[in-house]
Each structure stands twice: as C-alpha cells, then as structure tokens.
Amino acid sequence: MRQETKRLWLIVLGIGVLTGLATWVDVPGHPTISLGSFSRDLEFKLGLDLQGGSHLVYRADVTGISEDDIPDSLAGVRDVIERRVNAFGVSEPIVQTNRAGNEQRVIVELAGVHDPGMAIKLIGETPQLDFRREVVNEEAMQQFNVDDPAKITGPVFERTNLTGKHLKRAAVSFDQVLGQPQVNLEFDGEGSDMFAELTRDNLGKRIAIYLDGVPISAPVVQAEITSGQAVISGGFTLEEAKQLSQRLNAGALPVPIELIGQQIIGPSLGQLSIKQSVTAGVAGLVIVMVWMTLFYRLPGVVASIALLLYAILFLALIKLIPITLTLAGIAGFILTVGMAMDANVLIFERFRENLRAGRSVSYALKDGFQEAWSSIWASNVSGLLSALVLYSFGTSIVRGFALTLALGIVLSMFTAVTVTRVLLSLVLAVRFVQRPFWLAVRSMKSPS
C-alpha cells in the first residue's frame, strides 16, 4: 500500500508540473519560445470569424496548361499572392491552394483587413506580362480565318512562350533622348535565350509587350538581343513606371485568377464575439463546477479540479500546436467539456451505486472506474471516429470542429479518467472523508 501511495504522489507531482507549464503557456504576453529547431510564439491564433478580416476565394484559370504543370502554376500563383499581400503589410496572411472538383482555387485570408477593396485590387490586378510576335498576313489569315487579307488592318500579334514568368527583375530608368520614364526588364537564363530567339526570328518586325492582355508598346526589332534585356517605354508617368516595376518584381501571376467568393467580418463583430464567448465560456465552466460540487460533494470537487486542468491544458495545446480558434472550434470544445463531465458522472454514479450496495470505498471506487470505463471508451472512440471522418471529408469550418473535438477527446480521457482517478484514490484514502456526507450518499458502510 505504501508503495502504491508513493506512486500516486509521483503522478500528482507530474500532473502539477504539467499544469504549471501549461498555465505559464496560457498566461498572455510571452515572448516566442524556442527549443532547438522548435519555435513558437505564444499567441492565440484566431480564425477570421473571431478576429475579423477578409476571406477571399479565387478561381485559377488553368485552361491551356497541361495537367502536370498545374500544381507548379498554382504554387506560383500562391507565392506571388503571398509576396503581394506581404507588401500590403498584413500580418500572417494565409494563402492556400486547393482543388474543388475540376476547379483550381486559391484561398486568401487576411486577418484584420476589413477594407478588402485595396487587397482585392492588389491581388487581382497583378500584371500579366507577355511578349507577342507580329504575324505576317498570310499567317494571320490562316489563324483568324479571314478571307480577304486587306480586311486585316494593322499588325496582328500572336502569343509566344515568353511571359512575365521569365522575368528576373524590373527597374525604372529614363529614356536617354526624351528623359521619359521607362521600365527595364531583365530576363532569367531561359528567358534570355527565348528573347534572343524571338528577336532573331523577327528582325525588322515588331514585338509587342502586352500587359494584362493590352498592348503597351510594340517596338520594331533592330537587332538580335542576347543580353536578356528589354525596355518597355509606354509613355508612363514616373509614378506609373515605378508601380509597374514594383509589381513586375513581385512577380506576374503564372495564370489568371478570378474572385468568386469573399467573406468580410467587420472588426466590431469579431471582437464582440470573442470577448463575449470567452466570458460565456468561463461562466459556463464555473457553473458546471459548482453543480458538480453540490451534487457529488468531494468527488465533485475533484472532478472540478480535473475540469479546470482540462481547460488549462486545452488552451496550452491550442497555443502550442497551434490550432486556429474559430466559432466551430469553440463548439467542439463545448462538446468535449460535456463529454469530460460525462465521464466523471458515469464513474461517480457507479461509485455511489456500489456504496449504496454496501461495498467499501476503495472497492466501490475501483469497480466504479472499471464499470464506467467501457461506456467512456465506446463514446470517446465513436467521437474520435466521427472527428476523423469529418476532418477528412469536411470543409474548413467542419475541419476546425473536428480538430478541436479530437484534441478534446484525447485530453479529456486523460483529465477526466486518469487525473480524477489518481486524485480520488489519494483523497478517499483519508478515513475522515469516508462518510456519507462527503460522498453524497444517504447511507454506506462505515469505514472499517
């Protein structure tokens, strides 16, 4: 028995240390912690529905791109959008790509951005730069299926493979003759080769530079250019030239995108929700603890301690993993609080039944845990299975729910079963409390 008590105290010590650490993590205002390669700032990550912000869904137009290249193009789109929103000064933007049926989507979440007009402009108006070659008339005739070549007025341009993708960098310079602002382009290796080839094949003809499908300049090729340098002189103002070069440097989108959905949650709504939800959550926990204590007396106090521990550990894990808190996530948390309490209620009911049947406290406790265990296990496993299915099939809101549910179930098995068991075993070993009043039963066998 001595040995057993010693073991229990050791576990209590372990739980105490764990609680201490978790509490430290929970208290706001910590700097970033780092352990070796692991580094985490200890702030709550709030979902857009709690924090306010913009959720934008884009459809990427991948027509004409081979199946194999689609993931690369999308990754390119993601990187470019990331750079653009970073330039916009949004902290921790989330840019994700996902596939929905046949559609390729890019989802952009900008926390704290309540006026997404600017952001949408910045993301959507990303320049698409491409170079086109002039087509001689017979070719043009074939291509556009026009019978009379005389009807084709002006030069006709055809897309080439050279696009903004092949750009290394862009810079503003000034025309040496007129002093007009212009944009210098420098191609990467592949781009330089393509540009050299393009200029070689089109000597004396024009090469048009298209921005977002609109020609902005179409100089005549005087010589083959192998340096990988080109100039856009489109009669820009200095401001326009600067903006264009900045945007080109951030990268052109490999494929066009189209805004198909947006959600904007205003700041007051967001803040209101989180503040109220936290107050409500704390109030709910306190009421439950009071009820447990009134109903089950001493075991109720122990269950309340376990519940408190559950809340502390849950918050710490949310911060550490980190899991983004959303309203759906909070819903998952509520359900797990219910399940954690349920585990204790099941155990205590069995415990009381055993006491009423005249069994000794230690036997009633041991047996109570054992009998309640199969119910607790079955409910928790079915909960975990549901969470797993919902996570794999669900949309983001369902996933947030599933994740907190799964985390809560695993954690509550620890607090509501292990912690309660250890604490109760220690507390109920004291002779003084082995009385009907403390254990909330009308009659029981007196301690022997």
């Binding site: 949408i120 198909i260 959600q263 709504l269 819903a331 009911e349 099939f393 809101i397």
Partner: protein, 289 residues
Amino acid sequence: MIQKIKLWLIIPLVTMIVSIGLIVLIRPVLGIDFTGGSLLEIETKGMVPENVGAALEQELGLTSAVQSGEGSRLLIRTTALSESQHQEVLRILSEKDILIEELRFESIGPTIGAELRRKTVMAVAVALVILVVYLTYTFRKAGGLISPWKFGVAAIYALVHDLLFVTAMFVILGAWLGVSIDTLFVTAMLVILGYSVNDTIVIFNRAKSDWLSAHSGSLLNILDDANKNSLTRSLNTGFMTLLVLGALLLLGGPSIRWFIVALIAGITVGTYSSIFVAPPLLYFLAKRR
C-alpha cells in the same frame, strides 16, 4: 419507463413524419454559404428595412431582401455580387446617409455553395456508416442478447430522429424569423450527432453489462432498468451541458445565438431520444428475427 412499448415506438415515428412533413412543406431558408449569394451586414442610422431595399432597387436595379438585425443593424441579402457591385452598393448606402459601418460582407459564388452542400452531406453520411460499423463491433459480445448490428441501427435511428427534429424546428424558425440554415447550423448538427450517439451508447452499454452479469430477465425489463439506472447520469450530463450552453446563450454574442439555440434543442432532444427512442427501437428490432 418504456414499458408502454407501443406508445414509445409510435411517438418517435410520428415526430419524424411530422418533422419531414414540415421540412418538405415549408422548405428551409438556406444560408448563402449553401446557395451562393451575398450577405451584407451594416450598422445604420436606424433605417426602415423596406426603404433600404427600395433605394437599392431604384438606384442599382438590385433585388434584395433586407432584414432588421441587432439594434440598428441591417442584413441585406442579394444574389452574388462582384467586388465592383459591392462597392456600388456601399456608395449608394453612404450617399443615402444610411451607412455607418460595414460589419460583414460575404459573397459566395454558386459553385462554392453547391460544393459545400455536397461535401457536408458526404461527411455526415460517411460518419453515420462508420458509427454503425463501430457500434456493431463494440456490441459484438452482446450476441447472446441481440445481434450486434441492431445496436448501431437503433442508435442511428435515434440520431436521425434528433437531427430531423432540430431541422424541422429551424425550418419553422426560418419561416417565422428568417433564421437560415448555414454552415454554423451544420456544425451544431455535428455536435448533436456526437452527443446523441454518446448518450445512446451509455444506455445500451448499461443494458449489455446488466444482461451479461444477470443473464436473465426479459429484454424489455433489462432495457427499462438500464434507462432507470442511467437516469441520474443522463439528466445530470444533459443538464450540465445545458448549463454551459445557457451561459453561452445569455452572455455569448448575437452571432452565435441561433447556433446555441440549435445545440440546446439538440441536447434536449438527444437526451430524450436516448431513453425513449433508441431502446424501444432496439427492442422492436430484437423481437423481429
């Protein structure tokens, strides 16, 4: 408690038929996340909803459904707006001296809505199948009493009963107060799913262990005793969950109000169904060989 077995087989059946009838006849108000469309919530200088709708109709030719929200807030629902249309609406609202602040704007294209519907239905359907399989496995040892799969079917029956009840209730709320069935409602249904199954498992498990230890008595008595023996637990757990939800309803923000209402209804009906819906059906299934 369920000795009047016929009564307890008929009442849930009637509840479900009435619920389905209500859902089909009244038709739910689906949120824009499922149908596609735009939702604009604004803080106004105390405007009559009809006037705002008329202003938008007149200036932009835009058909909208405008509804009063919390205080001087307005909810404007339209077909899916593009960003430029959205800006137009805001411009008109400021010009008309209606707008104080834009609180929320959601615009969801019809494809996203359809996809969300499909995915949600899929997730729930797969979850139900897996639960039946798992319950069959868990109750495999109760073979001497009832074939194991019947436990799963009875639990899912009670669950469907609960989900139909809450959905019917929200269909009525939708017709009456314009409450819509949106993703948050679906989340509430998921919570109810978890809770209801959990509750039923506890009672079935009690019946199983009582049967295994006693190995005698009529099935109806065993189920009834399981209900009685688990009653304190059922009520206590249900009551405590309702306490937490009550706190959230009173103190939580308006944005989660209907969500909490759905949960309260679901937990209540879930507690009821685990006692009065699932065990009677299990009995019915067991008697039919």
